[in-house]
Symmetry: C2
Subunit: 654 residues, 2 copies
């Protein structure tokens, strides 16, 4: 340790947000804020001052944002993301001699001491600042320098010395002593708005055929676009659309032997018709897909593809790149398995291959191929079974060239693994929402997602069901359970999706003792009665409209748990930063019984006067209620509607 280099006396530590020492960026969309905190202090009793320095990637110079001092040497400041470009931020602190001097002067003056010498010291500080000031204010500083030296004006000098006007000038032009800059420049990756606010509809195109048993096509998809748009979805997501292998093809209900008419699982990718860059012939052609993409766009809908990096035994890669697969001692290729379960229709890709570089280049080219066809959203299947370093690299590469492309990580696995994928670049992530049921569950999990560091990089996408998962509460709760789950998904998280039409038709038939659908669409073509009377189509349409019309529901980070006096009643508030839009959601979590109780509205935070009534407007039923103070009565019958979505509007004098 050398002593000859003078170190700054200022310490900057406890910087937030900072993910894994700044190894990973935080994520934002345009319009969001970055709330920066740090602990900044120095030795001795000198006043310290601090700034957030931030800039867009394309800017050369830092912008300076004053930080505000709180208790225990904690400083904070907030800046808004204005453009879809990566940002950088760091922190700078220094000894503020002028503030130190002001504080001393004020104490001495209050104690009746002689401050003439102090004013001379102040004049010296002003003189130094005047040199820094390139602007017109120099003359004022210079004038005050002269004044301070004139002992006759003692009262007015002290008045000016302690004034806000002078404080402001000196904050800008005062000499900064012992400047410290934080060791890291921290990054914000800025995505397009859809990364934060999106509404997904997953559908198997092959089940959309018009005639009984007919294989659905992209043209059939075009036909149902108006219906999907009416329901208010803006992402239409398809399971893999590639040719399906025939070797070891699975039959209905995942049986090991397929009938000759069984279509196979779309996740058994590749046949002699092609692999990940080809389209399953029965779905149509590339130009059909492109027409669908274009037509969807006119409805405000984006088509998203499922990318699953795995191969059927018939995939061209198996012949062309045998080195990309793992072999067993008998020379057979190792199929996928979750012992003792075997997935013999699927070969995993072996990322341990010596040909890693070519392999990953090829996989990247799959994304690029579909991007060029007009796809800008990918749902990535099981990303946690591929190396993190691969995702870090491929998402980074693609973001550079195609900054609008979004990746959703379908990783249902351990928390740290899911977090690591999000840190590495995935713009959205599947979550445990699917299995969360009780009030305790929701308050815990929402706090984990929104009140911890995860909020900075992990954007949840809530799914009540998927083709793989029909959770127990949907199996047993009937139509009210489906209503509850879609309200919860759509209001808790600004990104959510359903797997339809199974969802809106309340398909609840599961394999005995499992969370899997009977006659799963993964292995057969289904015929859905999309116009059934019990369909939740209209209910979902209303919820999605409420989401579009209420900015408070277009972010997940503003979740605020509200206490209730009945554990079946879950209540939370979502309000915009400026409080111009406040939505209170109340859900009866019991799909069988009516429940009543009181919920507590944080009126102070909403700026509602203590002696004022305010109006709550149920956007689902159009009912209006006059509420008063914190605790208010609710009553929810799941058989009519298990939830209130209440817009809180203004306050009215009693």
């Amino acid at each position: 340790m050398k002593n000859s280099i003078r170190k700054s006396r200022v310490v900057i530590e406890g910087v937030y947000p900072e993910i894994d020492r700044g190894k990973f960026p935080i994520k934002r969309v345009v319009g969001e804020n970055v709330d920066v905190k740090a602990v900044v202090y120095a030795d001795a009793h000198d006043e310290v001052n601090a700034l957030v320095l931030y800039r867009q990637k394309s800017e050369k110079h830092w912008r300076e944002l004053p930080m505000l001092k709180g208790i225990r040497d904690q400083w904070s400041a907030s800046f808004r993301i204005e453009e879809q470009e990566d940002y950088y931020y760091t922190i700078c602190g220094w000894i503020d001699e002028f503030m130190t001097w002001q504080r001393k002067l004020s104490k001495l003056w209050a104690a009746g001491h002689d401050v003439r010498l102090e004013l001379i010291i102040g004049a010296q500080l002003l003189e130094a600042a005047a040199k820094n000031d390139s602007a017109s204010n120099t003359k004022w500083l210079k004038k005050w320098v002269e004044d301070f030296k004139n002992e006759g004006n003692l009262f007015s000098n002290v008045y000016i010395a302690l004034s806000d006007v002078l404080s402001d000038q000196m904050r800008k032009y005062g000499k900064r002593k012992s400047i410290a800059t934080y060791s890291e420049e921290l990054k914000v990756t800025v995505d397009r708005t859809k990364a934060l606010f999106s509404t997904w509809y997953e559908v198997f195109p092959r089940s959309l055929g018009q005639k009984d048993g007919a294989h659905g096509t992209f043209k059939d998809c075009e036909r149902i676009l108006p219906e999907i748009a009416d329901m208010g979805f803006d992402v239409l997501y398809f399971p893999p659309i590639h040719p399906i292998g025939s070797s070891k093809r699975k039959g209905k209900n995942n049986s090991a032997l397929a009938d000759k008419n069984d279509p196979g699982s779309p996740w058994a990718i590749g046949s002699q018709k092609g692999g990940h860059k080809s389209i399953h012939p029965q779905l149509g052609t590339l130009s059909d897909l492109k027409r669908l993409i274009a037509k969807a766009k006119t409805y405000g809908i984006e088509v998203a593809l499922d990318i699953a990096f795995q191969c059927s035994p018939d995939h061209p890669y198996v012949k062309i790149h045998p080195e990309w697969f793992k072999r067993r001692p008998d020379k057979s290729i190792q199929y996928a398995e979750n012992p003792p379960k075997k997935y013999e229709d699927i070969y995993p890709i072996n990322f341990d291959t010596d040909d890693y570089e070519n392999l990953t280049k090829e996989l990247k080219s799959i994304f690029v191929y579909w991007i060029k066809q007009g796809i800008h959203i990918f749902r990535v299947d099981n990303p946690h079974t591929k190396p993190f370093a691969f995702w870090d690299w491929v998402i980074d590469q693609i973001r550079k060239e195609y900054p609008n492309v979004l990746f959703l990580a379908e990783a249902f696995t351990r928390p740290h693994v899911m977090q690591r994928l999000a840190k590495g670049g995935f713009q959205q992530s599947y979550t445990y929402f699917t299995w969360r049921m009780s009030l305790w569950d929701f308050s815990q999990y929402m706090n984990e997602l929104t009140q911890t560091e995860m909020r900075e990089y992990f954007r949840p996408n809530f799914w009540p069901n998927t083709p793989d998962i029909l959770p127990v509460h949907l199996q047993n709760g009937g139509r009210p359970a489906f209503m509850q789950r879609v309200v919860l998904a759509a209001t808790l998280s600004s990104n959510y999706g359903i797997y339809g039409p199974a969802f809106e038709l309340c398909d609840a038939q599961a394999l005995q003792g499992k969370e899997e659908y009977i006659n799963s669409e993964k292995y057969e073509i289904k015929k859905w009665n999309r116009d059934a009377a019990w369909s939740l189509k209209d209910f979902i349409a209303k919820i999605n409209m409420i989401r579009r019309e209420n900015p408070a529901l277009q972010t997940t980070w503003n979740f605020k748990f509200c206490p209730t006096n009945n554990e079946n009643i879950f209540c939370f508030l979502k309000a915009t930063r400026d409080r111009s839009n406040s939505i209170l959601v109340v859900v009866n979590l019991d799909p069988f019984n009516k429940h009543a109780g009181s919920v507590c509205v944080p009126v102070e935070e909403l700026g509602i006067g203590y002696h004022r009534h305010y109006s709550v407007h149920d956007l689902l039923t159009n009912d209006k209620y006059a509420w008063y103070r914190g605790w208010n009565y609710v009553e929810l019958d799941p058989h009519s509607c298990p939830a209130h979505i209440l817009r809180i509007s203004g306050d009215e004098q009693v």
Copy 2:
């Protein structure tokens, strides 16, 4: 980002302990453990394994310590500090192919699948390991390789394959795939035991004169050594012993005008007789001091000096190094102040001087000078008013040459500043204990000190009083309050000290409305009646003996709060790691009234059977009680003794 370099699939994060990204070391003494935790995981479903790598500074190679896997990918391991030398540690993780294989084999076997091919794969893993194994075990591995290939031995092969014997061999010799090593090598600074366990007695030597008004000397100190040793102290600490300035000397009770007989404050350092390397002539000579140091040693007592880097106007530095002091516009030197208070007898040193390098070299040489005279413990006055970088440097320099030297930071200031000084090297720190009074206070503060990251680098030293601070509860609570405070200081913290004889004589006279002593010893020579009947000498002696005899009280980190049903009764447990010594302390926090109630003993943690009585032995009174299960009755009258210090011994069947 380049894709061509293969990155490890293993992630190591959330490493603990790690202070500010490893910028600062953790602290230990010989015999303490380092409990290391980390989150270690990889993509996919392969089994991961992890080790702590650690070594002493003088060792070239890492020692390997297997980590244990807990929930949520958390791993932990613990190593013991065996020598007084700095240690380093880091973490290594890898994909454990053998464990992965074992898990798969076990599942396939349980499900009745054909595992013959799996055993061949296992044989390949063993074969690779046999190449790694330089030891005699190779032959076993090779034998098993042959066995595994023999399909006839299926049952015994599976039995061996899943056996612990083979697991152990393969943990050692199995090929480690995709090894990741944590980015930081983290440091442990290891101090001598006294850094963790020390008992301080602060005294003004000048008040130890035998005749009325006579200035005490080092010889007088020698005389009272037996008394201090009887009381059980092992550090005898003196306020500054240097020549005291006469310019602007303060009189009694800090008055601005001194009588000609006033001795001045020992913190107004320096006169024509010398500065920080000189001894105040009335105390004696350097050889007197050295004899005292030697004599103290025979009593097991170390002499500690107060080092205060500040000068009286008469200090030689003021003339020789005028550039080390700050000047005001009228050319006068800036005296110390805490506006509107002025300390005109003291000039602070200006670390902003252009001559920083010479200044700091000189200050370092002051420590070195006293070390050479035999002083190995320094209490540093107001270190927070000097730059952190200076302390980082000077303590590091001195540790290298004199690893036994200890520094105690007397910084009563904001939490982050106190923490930063400890991080920078101070082996012990003053704390807020002095002002903590209620059960809530203690449970909060002890948790902060012992259950947060602070435990890794901040060693508290608890002081019930100091020459500067006579806290309100001692002013009002009478003798019982002094008894409470010394029990609390001595049992909560393994490092504690008192300022005597003011403490044991229960001096409670404060300046009106202040926390300062009337007729403070800082400004005058006091005559103490050290043999007064009300002296707590014997009580303190007993407490210090209990500390010496009970290892549970020789660390601070084992504090465990125990619930009580009376908020006046504070109870906590301290037990050694091996539970061989368990001390339960119960203190009545009210110095005026008797209180009774129940305290809850964590019997499960102590390994006391649920249906067994156990004996608690009050080491203060020698009373013994038979207790049963968790909640037990206590009753404490502050006027006899406000505390129990109970040794819990074994358990007896009912």
